[in-house]
């Protein structure tokens, strides 16, 4: 039987196992929306803005490991979804974004709601397709899912002109697909792995530095096994938090610009570094000329272009980190060799000395709510068992530092692109993927206003999110940089005329609570977390002057961290830049 392009698309999504489609309708997408109406396999979630739809699909993908799927209309629908597409691209998140396009005969005529979707999205997708013939539609959808979810994952855009969604053809969904121009590697080079294992076992001051690749490859259990087998210190990137249990004594914390003192010094002083599924991002390395001067570097990554891009690898290993970890563990076990216990003990003594600095200490006696305190209480109250999304800024760093993630896919944030407005819609996606789980969105008064409209979506679908708003009436991270590097000229970082967020939450049909005293923090959290039926918007009025420490300023190395004044750094030392 012949089906229309719209029916073929929806059927293909169903055959691909898509349960939720996050989107927003419009003229060019109307045939597709009609096809959605006439079936019940793919559930469409109506966001309030295409950006919200995109981030929701992203949150769904990050928390479940399944591709997030988005449907938007042409023109502004496409431009609005560019931010989520770029966000997913920077963090290698599998997504398929269907963009409706004006009818084929109008393409290029500056038609109503026409933009060059392929052109606009090209630099921020893994790949994109324009469907020119309805007979190619099903295979293109198959290819889109294949490309998005294999190799180094990423977003794939499929642009479908309206006439294609009306034309008819036989529906055949390919069972498998192969592309001569795209054959991602999986297995690593065995000779390289052997060299890596040798180097690793010979190390005196080793470190294992892992990133989001471990989470994408679903192999945190293997990472954990390797780290424990060797007894080496492990640090995670912002994207990799949860890949190794944060409460394990072998974990030295997050590294990088706002990483722990012990993680960054371990990186700086190490003689062998095993980098697994991370990409030496500038926020991780600081000044690359000062980066880990004594280290021999083993870099395992599925993307060859990540290797020796910013930091030269001594032993590059291209392949799936999952497969390579298996092989490394096997070879270590077979070799019967153990790391040099004496050297390792000396190394740990040094690391423990750095730990004693207690770089994440903060003022517990404050009369004003400290943002760190809220996150710590959130961790305690949820017993570490929540999914935590965040927006971007100080609150994001506080969440990364003070919430201990022991499992992968629990920490959902925009690491690469740093997209404010990500947190709330991403939390919606997480809740759809895990309907019974506790989902907290840690945000700030700046970020939350960037996708605030999604509170309405939360009401429509009864999503009992917990919004933890760290409200300091500032764009806190901007303010912090202005304090440190711009002589306290607080240019446009102050949020004047904030709305009454409690009333606003209530206006959307949710529960809003304003919390102004440290003594009320735990009670409010307990109230919100125990009620699984409603969304709670907790507006914590926090210390306006709190800064995120430790901090590596731009152009500095891991050994040139600035600690909190509580750790003995005085103000003068903060005059950097």
């Amino acid at each position: 039987m012949e089906l229309t392009g719209a029916d073929i698309l929806v059927k293909a999504l169903a055959d691909e196992g898509v349960e939720y489609l996050f989107g927003y309708p419009g003229g060019a997408a109307l045939h597709i929306y009609d096809a959605l109406y006439r079936q019940d396999k793919v559930k469409h979630i109506l966001a309030r803005h295409e950006q919200g739809a995109g981030h929701a699909a992203d949150g769904f993908a990050r928390s479940s490991g399944k591709p997030g799927v988005v449907l938007v209309t042409s023109g502004p629908g496409v431009t609005n979804v560019v931010t989520p597409v770029a966000t997913a691209h920077m963090d290698s998140i599998p997504m398929v974004i269907i963009t409706a396009q004006v009818p084929s005969h109008l393409i290029g005529d500056d038609a109503f709601q026409e933009v060059d979707a392929i052109g606009i999205t090209r630099p921020c997708v893994k790949h994109n397709f324009l469907v020119k013939d309805v007979r190619d539609l099903a295979a293109t959808i198959k290819k889109a899912f294949y490309v998005a979810t294999s190799g180094r994952q990423g977003p794939v855009v499929v642009d479908i002109p309206k006439d294609i969604t009306a034309e008819k053809t036989e529906y055949v969904y390919p069972k498998s697909i192969s592309m001569r121009s795209y054959q991602p590697v999986t297995e690593g080079h065995s000779g390289q792995i052997r060299k890596a294992v040798q180097l690793l076992l010979d190390a005196k001051r080793p470190v294992i530095y892992s990133g989001g690749g471990i989470i994408s490859a679903n192999c945190s259990d293997k990472l954990t096994e390797l780290v424990r087998l060797l007894g080496y210190p492990c640090t995670n990137t912002l994207m990799g938090l949860g890949a190794f249990p944060a409460d394990d004594p072998l974990f030295v914390g997050m590294l990088g610009m706002h990483g722990t003192y012990e993680a960054n010094l371990t990186m700086h002083e190490c003689d062998v570094m095993l980098c697994l599924g991370a990409r030496f991002d500038d926020r991780v390395t600081g000044d690359t000329n000062k980066f880990s001067p004594y280290a021999k570097i083993i870099h395992v990554d599925i993307d060859p272009s990540s290797i020796s891009k910013t930091i030269s690898a001594d032993i590059p290993v291209v392949g799936s980190v999952d497969v390579i970890l298996d092989e490394m563990i096997r070879q270590i076990k077979e070799s019967g060799r153990k790391p040099d216990a004496e050297e390792l003990q000396k190394w740990w003594q040094q690391i423990d000395g750095w730990r004693k600095v207690d770089c994440l200490a903060y003022d517990h006696d404050s009369e004003i709510i400290k943002p760190q305190f809220v996150i710590q209480k959130l961790y305690e109250t949820t017993q570490g068992d929540a999914f935590v999304t965040s927006d971007v800024g100080q609150h994001q760093m506080f969440a990364a530092q003070y919430y201990k993630f022991n499992e992968p896919r629990r920490w959902i944030n925009s690491g690469g692109l740093g997209t404010m407005g990500f947190g709330l819609p991403a939390a919606m996606g997480v809740q759809f993927a895990h309907p019974d789980a506790t989902v907290a969105c840690v945000t700030g008064d700046g970020s939350i206003q960037m996708c605030l409209q999604e509170l309405s979506t939360c009401k429509q679908y009864d999503l009992p999110l917990n919004i933890i708003n760290l409200n300091n009436r500032y764009l806190g991270m901007v303010r912090q940089w202005q304090e440190f590097f711009y002589d306290r000229r607080y240019s446009n970082s102050y949020m004047d005329a904030l709305p009454d967020l409690v009333k606003l939450a209530e206006g959307y049909g949710h529960v809003g609570i304003k919390i102004e005293k440290p003594a009320d923090v735990e009670g409010a959290l307990k109230e919100a977390l125990s009620d699984k039926s409603r969304l709670y918007f907790l507006d914590f009025i926090t210390d306006q002057t709190e800064n995120v420490y430790p901090m590596i300023a731009a152009g500095k190395g891991h050994h040139e961290m600035h600690l909190s004044p509580r750790n003995g750094d005085d103000d003068d030392e903060r005059e950097l830049a």
């Binding site: 392929i118 052109g119 090209r122 630099p123 893994k126 790949h127 324009l130 490309v147 592309m179 001569r180 121009s181 795209y182 993307d303 060859p304 272009s305 020796s308 891009k309």
Partner: protein, 163 residues
Amino acid sequence: MRHIISILMENESGALSRVAGLFSARGYNIESLTVAPTEDASLSRLTLVTSGSDRVVEQITKQLNKLIDVVKLIDLVENEHIEREISLIKVRATGAGRDEISRLVEIFRGRIVDVTDTSFTIEMTGSCGKIDAFLKAVPNDSIIEVVRSGVLGIARGEKGLRL
């Protein structure tokens, strides 16, 4: 150092813009770029001349390989190869200058393909260096227009860049 990267890619609309976009987005430099379909109509052959440190060129080839439409590529300068460029050069040619230019064309083994009372159009094929040398040899004020194809290249020996 100068590199000649020869690429086989899917002959699809937009494929060229992926390559061009990659170069502009990552700040790589393109000295010349030529593209045309191959004997297999589903594939295009793209020849790109770029320059940069070894590290930059390594990144360029990795990033090109990462493009989904790119099937295969080689850097021709890594091995013995042949490179050619074709150019069409229109020059002012009057009086005694006409003979002088004809002689130059002969020396450089070019051909005069169009003649008017006041001008010649010359077809010149060879390496970039040869064309540069010819353009230097022609009196500068007599050049009316120069069109160069960009470099084409192929490896020496029996092996070919194909599927």
